[in-house]
């Protein structure tokens, strides 16, 4: 029996290439919607709904809507790095939120962070 929605087979090299691509775009100044953070569940649902309507191949749109940053954001006196987020796979350095599914770095952050 296969899982209903899980990460695709791991291709470490492909992960690394995409991670580098994302890092480059963020470093080049891609302005993402890092604020406001998703303070309530209603805000989470709205952001996720926007992600679901974005074209899956449109990487910039995904990064922008989720508010991905290449550094940790602190909100409500709590640091929100990918490495403590529930969607983060530590060993693959990967965000498993079904609407994102992107390789990340542990110190990155996004406004859908949840612990």
């Amino acid at each position: 029996m296969s899982e209903t929605a899980s990460a695709p087979p791991v291709d470490a090299a492909a992960d690394e290439r995409l991670r580098a691509e994302i890092a480059a775009r963020l470093k080049a100044g891609l302005e993402t919607e890092a604020w406001p953070r998703a303070e309530t569940s209603e805000m989470v649902n709205e952001i996720v709904a926007r992600l679901q309507h974005a074209t899956p191949e449109d990487l910039d749109a995904k990064l922008t809507i989720a508010g991905v940053t290449d550094h940790t954001i602190e909100a409500d006196e709590i640091e929100q790095p990918c490495e403590t987020c529930m969607y983060y796979l530590v060993h693959r350095r990967f965000c498993e939120l079904p609407e994102l599914m992107i390789p990340v770095e542990p110190q990155w952050s996004c406004r859908l962070w949840r612990i």
Binding site: E39, S41, V44, T84, M86, R114, I115
Partner: protein, 320 residues
């Protein structure tokens, strides 16, 4: 021989269906091995109409000794407190409930509706439903906070939507065989033997809970359902992962979040859109934390556990 009478109020019959699936002991065992005489039950009783009414009247008058009165479903008070929306044998069911409860040695409420109102009592509660001795967390209900049956016990609450069949039959056996004194009840009058541990106790996903690996979709075998999919296992009192359903499984084992159906607030958040099967958060932290855990401790524990997670915890280890 202990005489048992079972009635239904504002109910879907789900607890009767559950009861009929009991195995340890079974519904038949109650009769053949434990001396329970079922005076009448909606799905088992042979009598109809006036013959049922006659049984109820004899129980109230004392002509038939009523040892155990079981009630399933809410006590309906609508419209305007009359209870006329739920008539049975010629009068409002709420009147039968009051008089039969006063006549019974023991009163047992089965399922969420009978215990605290359940789904029918969800706001705006058009049927003006109540549980026998609670309305959600509020003590009182249809019989009042001070009610005790002839044996001196308050209503014994066996919640669930539905209640597990063996919780029902095991409590009925305890009562029928003179062991009711051994039952200790919690603040919501649930038998502690079933409702002191958590749904999470015995959950096969505990390793994923411990290492903070989340399931992201229903039916996944990997990951804990608490973090994203609204599972209430860590704060719900039930033995669902100790006394398995159909002897083989539970919601969480099958990849389905616990809905918290043995707690008085069920259904949570009044079923507002976006609240079912989705962990409610405030700035990324769950609104409802595991029982006894505070926000600061939760954040610290989670960060440490996540950092310590071994690779296998992030993989599907339940392979064929």
């Amino acid at each position: 021989m202990a005489n048992l009478l079972w009635l239904q109020g504002g109910a879907c019959s789900g607890n009767t269906m559950s009861f009929l699936n009991a195995e340890e002991p079974s519904a038949c065992d109650l009769v053949t091995d434990f001396g329970i005489n079922v005076l009448w039950q909606p799905s088992l009783g042979l009598e109809l109409g006036d013959d049922v009414k006659a049984i109820l009247e004899k129980c109230i008058s004392g002509e038939i000794q009523l040892d155990i009165f079981v009630f399933e479903g809410t006590v309906v008070n609508a419209p305007d407190g009359t209870g006329e929306w739920n008539r049975f044998c010629g009068r409002a069911m709420k009147e039968w409930v009051k008089e039969l409860s006063a006549a019974a040695q023991f009163v047992v409420a089965i399922g969420d509706c009978a215990t605290w109102g359940g789904i029918p009592a969800t706001a705006p509660n058009p049927s003006e439903s109540q549980g026998l001795q609670f309305l959600k967390r509020e003590h009182g209900g249809a019989l009042g906070a001070s009610f005790t049956s002839k044996a001196g016990l308050p209503v014994i609450n066996i919640p669930g939507c539905p209640a597990h069949p063996d919780w029902v039959t095991q409590i009925l056996v305890a009562v029928a065989t003179g062991r009711a004194g051994d039952l200790s009840l919690d603040e919501f009058q649930r038998p502690k033997t079933f409702f002191s541990s958590f749904t999470q106790t015995g959950c096969t996903r505990n390793m994923h809970f411990a290492y903070k690996v989340s399931a992201t979709a229903f039916g996944q075998r990997k990951g804990c359902l608490f973090y994203d999919l609204g599972c209430r296992g860590p704060m719900t009192h039930s033995p669902c992962n100790r006394i398995l359903w159909n002897r083989v499984s539970s919601k969480t084992r099958a990849g389905m979040p616990c809905l918290g159906c043995t707690e008085p607030e069920f259904p949570f958040f009044d079923l507002a859109p976006g609240t079912v099967f989705k962990t409610q958060t405030v700035m990324g932290v769950p609104k409802d934390l595991p029982a006894g855990v505070d926000k600061k401790g939760y954040v610290k524990l989670t960060a440490a556990a996540k950092g310590a997670a071994p690779a296998w915890a992030e993989e599907d280890i339940f392979v064929v």
